[in-house]
Structures are given as structure tokens and as C-alpha cells.
């Protein structure tokens, strides 16, 4: 009868087999995710022939840095890059300015219709953009906002996902801290910005980066809300690089060089904010 209590619940496993399996899975996933990026970067150094060759060339015979200069000139990086920077930066500020108070209200305040309103915000994350394209196009067209920075910024100001993640972060702030602040005579606005906001900063930084990235990489709205080049951004210009070959062979290496340059600022930002982003996702509470 007592024997069963002596048996350990921990099962013996073979550590070496387990370790090898772990390494194989991780290596496979690593290759799966890194390979497209490697191919893009390495292709941007190839010659036109190498870029088109099948089977693919994994290491160019000669590194042609001139592709980047061609891409810069061909895609008019100065003009479209400026548009990209202005629009994406504005989106970060407008998106956070709207999302943070909204997330605070949903996370830390009580009001009527809170649940159904939040459900509407969540449902936005499930609707594909193509479904709302037409009504939005008509709306902006009637407002006379096509081909303006305004429409490009306004469209990305609202983000259900940003509200959702920041709300979750606000909800994890210890209630006693908020109550202490209210007892300290703080208004709700002070409670939000001076007390809770610094505590959810990792999440906000990550969301800012996401907002910037969403706008920076956008191609769909870039094309659908504009009819001329005045306010178009980089993804459009990179795509145009590929199209503007006038019957000649498409210069994939130049397109790839453009794409690499498009991605570079984001990659650098990720490297610097790496810790913040990880914190944001494993964020589990504040002591």
C-alpha cells in the first residue's frame, strides 16, 4: 500500500536525445525564418545574371555595392523615404495618443457599455482590410482627403491590436498603486500618465515600433488611397523599381537592394529595442 508513495512522479528522460531533438527543431525553424532574409540581402549584391539564375546562387562571385546606389536613384529614395518617415512618425504619435487613453479607460475604468464597445474594437482585428477598403475609399474621397498625408496618417491612427495590448498591460498594474495615487490627490489623467504609463512603458515602446512598422511596410493603402506619387511611400517605390524595366530584364538585384534598405531601419530598431520587446511580451506583473 505504501509503495505507491515512494514512486517519484518525475519520469526519467534521456537528456542527450532530448537535447539533439531540441537543437534540430530550433535549427530548422531558424533556417525557415532567416533564409528569406539571407536571400534578399545576398541577392542585393549579385549581378543581374546571378540574380536570375536557377538553381539559385547562394554566394555572389563579386559583391556589387553599386546595386544600392542604383536602387536609391531608381526608387527616388530621398523623396519617398521622406514621405515614409513623416507619415510613419506621425502615425506613431497619433496612434499612441489615441490608444493609450483608450486602453486606460478599458483597462482601469468602469463605464456603461464597456464590454460591447471593447468587443467592437476586438472584432476589428478579425476583419480583413480589403473588406473595408471601399467604404473607406469613398469616405476619404468625399472628404477630399485622397492623396494627402492626413488620410495616410488617420487610417493608421486607430489600431485595435495596440489598444488591446496596452489595455492588458494596464490591467496588470497593481490596483493598490492606482488607489494610492488617487489618495495622493492625483486626477485620473495624472494617474494614467505619471503613475501607470511609466509602468507599462515596455509594452508602449513595442506598440510604437509595431505602429511604425505597420505604416512603414504598408503597400495596400499606399496604393489605394493615392492616385499620384506626391504622398506615396517607399514600399510603392520599391515595387515600381521592378516594374520600370522598359522591356529589359527585371533587375531583381536592384529591387532586393531597395528592399534591404527599406528593411534596414526596422532591423536596427529591433536590435536596439530587443530587450524592451521581449519584456513587453513576457510582461507579467509589476512588483
Amino acid at each position: 500500500m505504501t509503495d505507491i508513495y515512494k514512486k517519484s512522479l518525475l519520469k526519467k528522460k534521456n537528456p542527450l536525445v532530448w537535447k539533439i531533438a531540441e537543437c534540430v527543431i530550433l535549427a530548422f525553424l531558424f533556417i525557415l525564418f532567416v533564409l528569406p532574409f539571407y536571400y534578399m540581402i545576398i541577392s542585393s549584391f549579385k549581378s543581374t545574371v546571378e540574380a536570375m539564375r536557377n538553381p539559385p546562387v547562394w554566394w555572389p562571385a563579386q559583391f556589387l555595392w553599386g546595386n544600392f546606389a542604383d536602387a536609391w536613384k531608381g526608387a527616388n529614395f530621398t523623396k519617398y523615404g521622406w514621405n515614409s518617415i513623416v507619415i510613419s512618425t506621425c502615425v506613431v504619435f497619433t496612434c499612441l495618443a489615441c490608444s493609450v487613453p483608450c486602453a486606460f479607460a478599458f483597462g482601469r475604468m468602469e463605464f456603461k457599455l464597456k464590454k460591447p464597445l471593447f468587443a467592437i474594437i476586438l472584432s476589428d482585428m478579425m476583419i480583413p482590410v480589403q473588406c473595408v477598403f471601399l467604404p473607406l475609399f469613398i469616405l476619404f474621397s468625399k472628404l477630399g482627403w485622397l492623396n494627402t498625408y492626413g488620410s495616410m496618417i488617420l487610417l493608421f491612427t486607430y489600431s485595435g491590436a495596440t489598444i488591446f495590448f496596452i489595455r492588458n498591460a494596464f490591467m496588470q498594474v497593481n490596483n493598490e498603486v492606482l488607489e494610492a495615487a488617487r489618495l495622493d490627490g492625483a486626477s485620473e489623467l495624472t494617474v494614467m500618465y505619471r503613475v501607470t504609463f511609466p509602468m507599462v512603458k515596455p509594452v508602449v515602446v513595442t506598440m510604437a515600433l509595431m505602429a511604425f512598422l505597420r505604416r512603414w511596410n504598408d503597400y495596400f493603402w499606399n496604393l489605394s488611397l493615392t492616385t499620384n506619387d506626391r504622398v506615396r511611400t517607399l514600399p510603392y517605390a520599391i515595387q515600381a523599381l521592378n516594374a520600370a524595366t522598359d522591356g529589359a530584364l527585371p533587375r531583381w538585384e536592384v529591387t532586393m537592394a531597395g528592399a534591404t534598405m527599406l528593411m534596414a531601419p526596422m532591423l536596427i530598431a529591433y536590435i536596439f529595442a530587443n530587450k524592451q520587446i521581449k519584456n513587453a511580451f513576457i510582461y507579467s506583473g509589476i512588483k
Binding site: N174, E176, V177, E179, A180, L183, I286, K287
Partner: protein, 343 residues
């Protein structure tokens, strides 16, 4: 008259029954009043209603004769110390103390003066520029106290402020808190479920159970003269033993007043020793008397399994009627069973 809760009713949304009804409590100015009771008795709810963190469903709350029922927490001129300290983790010790003062738009010089005064008072001067994460639990609680003191409030509300500290530090902070009270001489309202804390610190104890005040008195009154069986069993370490009698009443006695042996004049019991816990100064001995077990605290020890006779002198017996309220009438029924209020 400092703080008055008048005919308070509290019912949480979505619940069928109120947690508190017809609740009346007067807390004298300058008293150290302890709200004492088991979990869920309403002590924290009462404190939070005084603070304004919880709305009342009915009734009024007065602080210094001003009706504050609908006044914001920050406008009630009170300070609160929380169980989990609730200090702002991203601000330094100084920042934590300053935060409240800045909200009241006090001028800079006075803020500095106040902050330095409380830092000095709580022995935190050398930690002024540290973040809370660099402080120990005891120091964090002192920051919370310093923050409260800096506002010169009418009353300090404390919600189990020592329960997160280890045993040794708790005793130290208890002494600090008593000294602080003696120094400030302002109203303290202290919530705890620890009757030792209540007895050692309070000038007044309010024993709560199921949202009702069971007794309000000095620690001596509550300990020596419990008004009902709940208070008798809740106060003391451990509380009173109670025996149900055949006539419906109860007889109770304090563990340290039961003696080994037999006596003509008193209650005689017999039983077997179940456990014998050495407590340092004395032993806590659990005895099975056939219809349940009772606890005694004696300096002499007995072995586990030993048959013992014990008696409680007549003058040390407390009698309670069928409604568990204290009665002066001696109950003469036979012992039926051992009784615990929460049974």
C-alpha cells in the same frame, strides 16, 4: 468625534445580499483603532469606505463632522498604507513622497522641508535617491509610511501593513508603529486579522464578524470581558475553549486558566493528550475530552497519549446563552460537545 460611519450599507453589484447593513461605528479622535476579524468579515471594506475607495450603498460617513460620503479619496485629508506597500516602482523614494505633495500644489520649499523631515523621521535619508526595487520589504513599508506622514493627514488608514513582512521584522515595525503613533497622536485606523497585533498596538479594538460589530472596546475589555462567544474564541492565543451544554448554553474558559488535577469548585474534565507543542515560555497541549478536543497552555508538560484530569476554577468560567451572547447566569447543563464558532 473624528470619524463616524452612520447606518452604512454595502452591497456589491451583482450580489444578492449586502456584506454590511446598519453598520454604525464611531472612531474617537486620536485613538489607535484596530478593525479586527477573520477574512471576509468586512474590515477592509469598512476601511476602504472611509478612504473613499469603495462607494457606500447607503448611509453617511463623517470626518470631523463633515459629510465626506461623496467626496473624492484625495479630498478627504486622510492617508493610507497598503498591504503591498503600493509605492510607485518607477519613482525614487523622494519621488514617491513628493508625488502627493505636488498634486496638492504646495510650493517647492515646503515640499523639500516636508520630504526631508519624514525621510529623517523614518530613517530613510540615505535611501532618498534609490528606487523601490533596491529596498528591502521593511524599507519599502517605511517609504509608504513616510509618504503617508508627509501629508499631515487627519487620519492614517492602514490595511494589514505588516502582513508581508517576516516575523522578526513585523515585531520591529510594530514597535516603530506604536512609537510613531505616540509621536503623531493623530487618529490611526488599522485593519488586521492578527489579534496579537490588535492587542499590542490598539487603544481601541473593533471586532467584526459577518459585516457586524461584535464588540468595541479597549484590548483589556475585549480580552477579559468578551461580549459573545465569537469574540471569546477569536481573541487570545489561542482563543477560548467553548463547550456546548445540554441546556442550550455554552461555557468557555481561556487555555491558560485550565489546570491539571481535580477540584470541588469548578469544571472537571478528563481526556487524553493529543499533542504537546513546546512554545518556549510554556506548552500548548491539546487534550481529547471524548466529545472533541480542547487546548490548554501550561508550563508543565504531559506526554502524548497520557490520560489527564483537568479542572477550571469556577471564577474563570465564562457563560454564554443559547444565542452565544455573554450571560451572568451560571449554566448548569452537562457538557455535550466542544464548540467552535466557525463550525
Amino acid at each position: 468625534m473624528a470619524i463616524v460611519m452612520q447606518d452604512i450599507k454595502k452591497q456589491y453589484a451583482g450580489t444578492s445580499a449586502p456584506v454590511m447593513e446598519h453598520f454604525d461605528l464611531t472612531i474617537e479622535e486620536g485613538s489607535f483603532t484596530v478593525l479586527l476579524g477573520p477574512s471576509g468579515c468586512g474590515k477592509t471594506t469598512a476601511l476602504r469606505m472611509i478612504a473613499g475607495l469603495e462607494e457606500v450603498t447607503g448611509g453617511r460617513i463623517f470626518i470631523d463632522e463633515n459629510d465626506v460620503t461623496d467626496v473624492d479619496p484625495g479630498e478627504r485629508n486622510i492617508a493610507m498604507v497598503f498591504q503591498n506597500y503600493a509605492i510607485y516602482p518607477h519613482m525614487t523614494v523622494r519621488g514617491n513622497i513628493e508625488f502627493g505633495l505636488k498634486n496638492y500644489q504646495i510650493d517647492k520649499e515646503e515640499i523639500n522641508e516636508r520630504v526631508n523631515y519624514v525621510l529623517d523621521m523614518t530613517g530613510l535619508s540615505e535611501y532618498a535617491d534609490r528606487k523601490p526595487s533596491q529596498l528591502s520589504g521593511g524599507q519599502r513599508q517605511r517609504v509608504a509610511l513616510a509618504r503617508a506622514i508627509s501629508k499631515s493627514p487627519k487620519a492614517f488608514l492602514m490595511d494589514e501593513p505588516l502582513s508581508n513582512l517576516d516575523a522578526k521584522l513585523r515585531i520591529q515595525m510594530r514597535t516603530d508603529m506604536i512609537q510613531l503613533y505616540n509621536r503623531l497622536k493623530c487618529t490611526f485606523i488599522y485593519v488586521t486579522h492578527d489579534q496579537t497585533e490588535a492587542m499590542t498596538m490598539g487603544t481601541d479594538i473593533v471586532v467584526l464578524y459577518k459585516g457586524m460589530i461584535q464588540q468595541h472596546g479597549t484590548p483589556q475589555e475585549v480580552y477579559n470581558n468578551p461580549s459573545n462567544l465569537f469574540v471569546a474564541q477569536f481573541i487570545g492565543d489561542p482563543g477560548m475553549n467553548a463547550l456546548r451544554l445540554s441546556d442550550g448554553g455554552y461555557v468557555g474558559f481561556q487555555p491558560r486558566l485550565a489546570q491539571f488535577g481535580k477540584s470541588e469548585n469548578g469544571l472537571n474534565l478528563q481526556g487524553t493528550v493529543l499533542t504537546n507543542e513546546f512554545m518556549g515560555h510554556d506548552c500548548m497541549i491539546t487534550v481529547d475530552i471524548g466529545c472533541g478536543s480542547i487546548v490548554m497552555r501550561r508550563r508543565e508538560t504531559r506526554k502524548v497519549g497520557e490520560q489527564v484530569s483537568l479542572f477550571i476554577p469556577q471564577e474563570n468560567l465564562f457563560y454564554f446563552d443559547a444565542d452565544q451572547n455573554r450571560t451572568g447566569t451560571v449554566q448548569t447543563g452537562e457538557v455535550v460537545s466542544v464548540f467552535h464558532v466557525d463550525d
